[in-house]
Amino acid sequence: MNDNARPSGAAGSGRTKGDVLLEIRDLKIEGESDEVWRPIIKGVDLTLKRGEVLGLIGESGAGKSTMGLAAMGYARAGCRISGGGVVFDGIDLLAASIEERRRLRGTRIAYVAQSAAASFNPAHQLMDQTIETEMRQGKRSRTEAEKDAIELYRRLRLPNPQEIGFRYPHQVSGGQLQRAMTAMAMTCRPDLIIFDEPTTALDVTTQVEVLAAIRDIVEQFHTAAIYITHDLAVVAQMADRIKVLRYGQSVEEAPTREMLASPREEYTKSLWSVRKLGKQEQAAGEAVLQVKNVTAAYGNAVRVLADVTVTVPRGRTVAVVGESGSGKSTLARVITGLLPPSAGEIVFNGKVLPPALKDRDAETLRRIQMIYQMPDTALNPRQTVYEVIGRPIEFYRGLTGAKKEARITELMNLIEMDDSYVDRFPGELSGGQKQRICIARALAAEPELIICDEVTSALDQIVQEGILQLLMRLQRELNVSYLFITHDIATVRAISDEIVVMYQGRVVQQGPKTQVLSPPHPPYTELLLSSVPEMDPDWLTNLLARRKVQPAAMKAGDR
């Protein structure tokens, strides 16, 4: 159906462009911190025509979300619009009264937030929340509204559209919830929808579903949209035009195809180049870690790992890929001893490790370190960098005083940070810096194996690249091995030597990178690999066309 509606893919040459719907002129927004107003948006222009999709990209802190909210004439608490104008269909939103703006929101302008799970009220059924706005406006009867909602669920390809509305938010998956939220936004047939990173929190396999659903429905109702994301490949599928933001300023703006083919600005080019990071695969040598036939379960009932065997060679990177719930993180917990396996064993440096953490000696613990997904929760907010890095040095090596400080300076240099940062608390560091500190904490123990649990998935692409390059350099210099858990195939391509594909607690495929990444693939690997968005604007269209021919692969991912 996509092919009919849209002969030439995302760049949307088949669409009829209408008059100007939204016009933002020289918008300035300030945010308050420490009783000082600092500019967040420094004079950005934006024009959106009826039925057009504009992609807004940039790293976090670039002001994307702030821009998105400003398009509704809204500034978050602690922010204020200090200049410029927002004109929506002839109505000056900044001059309009609060009542007037409220009337527009939810009827003519709608908003889809990043985390649907956090945006739905867990105490009410999806249907009640979907039609809430309509009910309050009283334009339609309840039965009519429900009928319409079910129709929207169907169009968004939610399973069981007739009854899914009568479930509670926790009873459906994240991808379904995100689509339900899109349905909610659509109920009033708005002229403009703002999508704020709607698929960032989803697995790649689910992301494809949601992207396809959003793209179809926006097209069917000829809705204009602002699509905010930091993922270039995603925006390439969705947008007619792309606008790049940085530090609250517009960097460049161009139609999607033009932008992808020939970015003008240096910064835009650097965004593009991130995905080209690569590593030459190296042959495996002696094994540091062997996970042998491990089966593990939480409590007595839920088995999360079944007969898993993985080997990590010294000085190499083994990537464990799979969607959430596939048992990747549980594998890490078993290796570290946090979750003793019910069967199988962990062999480290040729010795069988005690299954439980409390039975392992400090020397063993030192050799296996871990880096977490969220640097925010992995660093104690009440400890300075000095304490965070200093502790393992003191704990494992017994160094104190000047020797400890010298080692801290050395580690700070190793992670390419200045040692003036040692007084800072984690709250005073950026996301990438925090992750570097986490890496330094792991390195302070001088480990042989570092388990990296989705270490880059919470970071922007540019920051991601920096972290990955750092990890690769450290591996070359220190010959440390990585067990790299991720769901991002681009990351896997960039850094791994070997790949382990997991699905529902089992290893479905493993081997050297080139072997796993080159066809033919087992069905699940195929689904996983094909779901990773590519920069080609026709990628989604082509993929959906291919999958229609092979419905089996689609089925495996339909949850």
């Binding site: 946090l338 613990l365 977490y372 992995a378 104690n380 704990f395 040692v422 709250g427």
Partner: protein, 301 residues
Amino acid sequence: MTATHEAASVTAKAAPSISQRRRRSKLGNAWRGFVKAPTSAKFGMLIIALYVIAAIFAPIIAPHGQAEVIGPGYQPWSWQYFMGTDQLGRDLFSRLIYGARNTVGVAFLTTMLSFALGGSLGLLAAIAKGWTDQILSRIVDALMAIPVLIFALLLLSIFGTSVIKMVLVMAVLDSTRVFRLTRAVSQSIVVMDYVEAARLRGEKLPWIMRREILPNIMAPLVAEFGLRFCFVFLTISALSFLGLGLQPPTADWGSMVYENKMLITVGRLTPLLPAGAIALLTVGVNFVVDWFLHKTSGLKE
């Protein structure tokens, strides 16, 4: 390895070393924090400072001893008897000052003890989970089932009244509330990755309690300390009023209200003075605690 150490220590000598810089910035932060404090917090600190001075230097400041009879009973306020005398003819002003030492000192000690006890057990329960948590929590539930004042009266009648026994009884009874709070707030910290990281490092229980969790639950604990302190203070005064707290002739604000309660009927304000002293300290402590809470929650942003 040693070569890099030497190189690093040379550079450390040239510039102020990491530890020097850290000390300096900590002192500076504390001072800046004080200067920026709102008027209410400064007022609260002033009150607390006055009480502390009165408590420490009581023998110097007070014109008479706390048990010294200086004239006839129930004298009105005058130049000779600054705030009048009590039923036995003791100087009320001197007794107020000594009362700061006795009542505030005992209340402070009791609250500290109850926080040490309830706080450490609460942390332990939150980290250890399982049986330890169950046993501790059920004991606390049982203790909490009986109203504090009645339970304290009962225990003090059984064990006899002395300052130490009262402090211990009150501390144990009060620690149940501290236990519940500490356990609840710690539970949300225990699940954080940095606590897991500490466990993976091989850290022992005391370190995890003190260094990983405690700093993160300080804000609610300090707020609770302010409140608890006032409650303990009032309970001790109540016990003294009932004759089971601090024993005469020790000056205590609670018993002073009791002893002079007669005077209310003749329209004199004297019994309100010790009551006012209690109220003022309560207000002062809470001003400071409010400010501290505000400050720490602001730091999180």
